[in-house]
Symmetry: C4
Subunit: 304 residues, 4 copies
């Protein structure tokens, strides 16, 4: 008999139109009354794309320069250069002066002469350097916090394997270096209608034939034998095809290039299940004897 | 019988007005004859708020500029510009020159002309860059060393659960991303008056129904069954309510956004104990079927 | 009987001229249809030599300055200085102006005067600082991601040891500090011709007399006893010498100087096997009683 | 019977005047024929004191400026300013110009005018920024790689404890924050004269009453019961006092302020052994009930 897991952290009850709790490895839960935190900002700036990140840097730079240019304009353009009489031309030149101060390029063709102008520009140079310290920190944070690079097969399959049925899925190393000590942990959540029409969730550890290997150069097929200990043992093919079930997967490995343990979450639901298929071969040899991994083969299924 | 833990690191004896050893996850112990260390400074600069940190940067900047301005004044303002005759005006301009040197903005409208002025300003520029290297390192240190973001319920509760009494507390993920592999370890310290009126501490591992889960998207209720193996088994409700006991908790999880294992310490004492209550539901569903976590619900208790 | 490992992540079938899957601790697998990723760029910039890295920095600097110099030339050299009439001289001076802007040195002898010149140079200074933020991040990434510094002996040996034959290899700490908690995991892959002429791979865990020690100041000889549980038990000397076998090794330890767990992969094949040899002594004492490690002794073999 | 450890990584043989292999947690082994590596440089720059590190920065700065000043002098001082005719004055001014370029302060009072002067100064500014990137990385490396802050008692003691003799030593948290999950592993090495006058080393795991606790706010006394399973069981007091034995200790804990697992090595030899003493109390209470840790008490011994 399959052993039910206690208190898996997501509750035992469900409702008819319940959404998945994990989608694409991210929490799909909504929060209310949640206080803001500065760590949220950092996490956001780390997780956005490089394009968006650099756009923010550029926008921040322009906004700060416009702000200081206004400030300098109110101090008086005459404290910086001989005013042209044109607001726009003077403002643009103060913008340039601000940019030269913020980046500390300081050509000096334009330089502050009065006391207030001197203080504000001294302060702006400090802000500039501190901001670039901040950006340097974020830069390093961005590329030293890599995402795990595991690709999961689009489908789960069920096929006969050895002396029983087995459910399988496949993972692939998206990078060319070796993943060290990959390890996979899977929990299955089966939601069934109770006697009174309510929806009940049950959670089970999904036993795998092997859940840790030494390194992963190519693909790895994970095999769950649907024997008597499996929570899926009692279902017919038709029932499996319509089962309201989700598999929550935690994959971890040591990434050599970054010297870090990386984690990746994934979930399958049973709409992704294909019965009576098998995965295509995960590698081939070329004429020189090298093992070939074709990244397009991950999802290749063959009807048995 | 509950098994006493040996040598838990805090001693077996106590006195009548003993303070708690951990408060808010921090050591509440006083140190004497402790030598200072530079790591203490680093730890301090990492742990203070951003406001205080930036204030120190600003103060340091002003103090250094005042210092160098004095230095330059003693060298002679004439080595930098045509002196105005006014001490204050000259001093302020030397302050600006120092700021331009420290930040390396170096407009050049003011520039050193003598040998000593040249040496000191060359040295100041080095100090400036080295200081900003230091600040950059601290910046990165600040946001790459996040604090664990677990919130503990204000109260411990005791209620009937299954076939015995159980003590429970609840933790919540304060952030919107998933906490990976959260794990909780708890030790209970019970202080009792010995036969000769002295105070004796005994420590026990607090057995939990489950102390590790795969991920934590919402809240998690920790359950200690008060069965025969529990150190709390022998006490009546009244005795429990007045028991001088503390629970020391170590919570750890893998934080995905930072790729780090984070630890959080917490402690409860039995003044926080409520008997005959239960926690309100830890989640709900909205009309679209999404799971909702209401951060204000963590401490919601219902009288049974 | 030796127990075959299931699903070691590299497949059970082979072909006649199969190449090794790991060479020098790197994946020797070829990838097709692999999408590019920015992490690949980062990994590349981290793993290249310091010479190549600094060469890229220099080339990037020159290319950016040439690009901006062209840009400024089209804006008009007259916006920066009194043109000389010579294209080359003006271009070179604009190159210098660009370099002064990108590095934020900004002498100011040359400074932008028009609006477009002002905007482009403001933007270039931003690009300069952002690029150096990026380089700073890479610098730190480079030396904070050290490679494990284990050297493996060139040869495997087989000799009589205690009451059975044993296969041995030796590892050496290439650095002068201690390696903390070194641990070694080895898998052996034996490829044999099947009944129908096809090549079959079988994988076995390689049992070692000891696979974890507290620290490694010098050399460490790993011993696999070829007793009944060994997959090598059944082979004669001649068969061993010609066996198509590979040993995949994962070595990990805690590097104190970097406060990190480091991993190193290695593989042996049986062409590296020497039967009837033993390793020379791994250390000696000098006249003061200090233990001496001679790095040239790692591969010293003695005929028995 | 105590069980001998196999292959502890330091060899079984010894000689009469053998030095200790670990002293102050560092390897005390001498290396010959060891190739140099750039990681050795990094490790060196990370491990030296702040004073020495900053001195190197200063020396590097001066040397680079002198070098470039010579270079500029050979190009011709006239390319930078109107030469004074005095070698020393011109050289010093070129030194200042170099400093202004290397730090990118670039006042511009002195600026390059010729083509060669322009190229060399453009290159110097690049070298300057790259060097400060390097220093920034080292700065962060320095304070993000903290040393474990455990202090070991100067002495080992042996006293009667419960129903047997016990050997004890004590460790103290040198910092004011909690050490999380401290864990200690100890191996004892006993060297005895063999039958033929040769020296033989035997290694044993040193069993401790408890070797892992949840956190360490104060001091922790480690207890090895000298019962039948102890390698020390068979010795009399006199023999123990003269035993040529060393204890190698690996201490690890999670440092909360740095979010890192830290390791510290230590070793005792039996010259540090005191028989018939006990440690003074490791803490006290002040009048407010706070636990007091007196850092000077770590080594306080009382004759029994």
């Amino acid at each position: 008999m399959a052993k039910v897991l206690k208190d898996p952290g997501v509750g035992y009850k469900s409702n008819s139109n319940a959404q998945r709790i994990i989608v694409d490895g991210k929490s799909n839960v909504r929060h209310i009354n949640k206080p803001k935190s500065i760590d949220d900002l950092y996490t956001y700036l780390i997780e956005i794309s490089w394009g968006l990140f650099l756009t923010y840097v550029l926008i921040g730079y322009i906004v700060m320069n416009i702000g200081f240019a206004f400030f300098y304009f109110f101090i008086g353009a005459a404290d910086f250069f001989a005013p042209s009489g044109s607001f726009w031309l003077d403002f643009v030149n103060l913008f340039f002066f601000s940019a030269q101060t913020l980046t500390t390029v300081g050509y000096g063709a334009v330089a502050p002469s009065g006391v207030l102008a001197g203080f504000v520009s001294s302060f702006e140079a400090l802000i500039g350097l501190t901001s670039f310290s901040f950006i340097t920190g974020l830069m390093y944070g961005r590329f030293s916090k890599p995402k795990a690079k595991i690709k999961f097969s689009d489908h789960l399959i069920i096929r006969n394997f050895d002396d029983s049925r087995a459910m399988m899925f496949r993972v692939m190393n998206k990078r060319t270096n070796l993943m060290i000590e990959p390890e996979l942990n899977a929990v299955i959540n089966i939601t069934e209608k109770g006697e009174n029409g309510e929806f009940k969730r049950a959670f089970y550890q999904l036993q795998l034939e092997r859940n840790k290997i030494m390194y992963l150069p190519t693909m790895w097929t994970l095999v769950h034998k649907m024997n008597e200990d499996s929570p899926l043992f009692k279902y017919t093919e038709d029932e499996l095809q319509n089962l309201e079930a989700e598999i929550y997967i935690l994959f971890k490995y040591h990434e050599e290039a970054f010297n870090q343990n990386l984690y990746q979450l994934h979930s399958y639901n049973f709409e992704q299940l294909k019965i009576g298929y098998q995965f295509g071969s995960s590698y081939a040899f070329d004429e020189e004897g090298f093992t070939i991994v074709d990244h397009d083969q991950l999802n290749y299924l063959e009807k048995i």
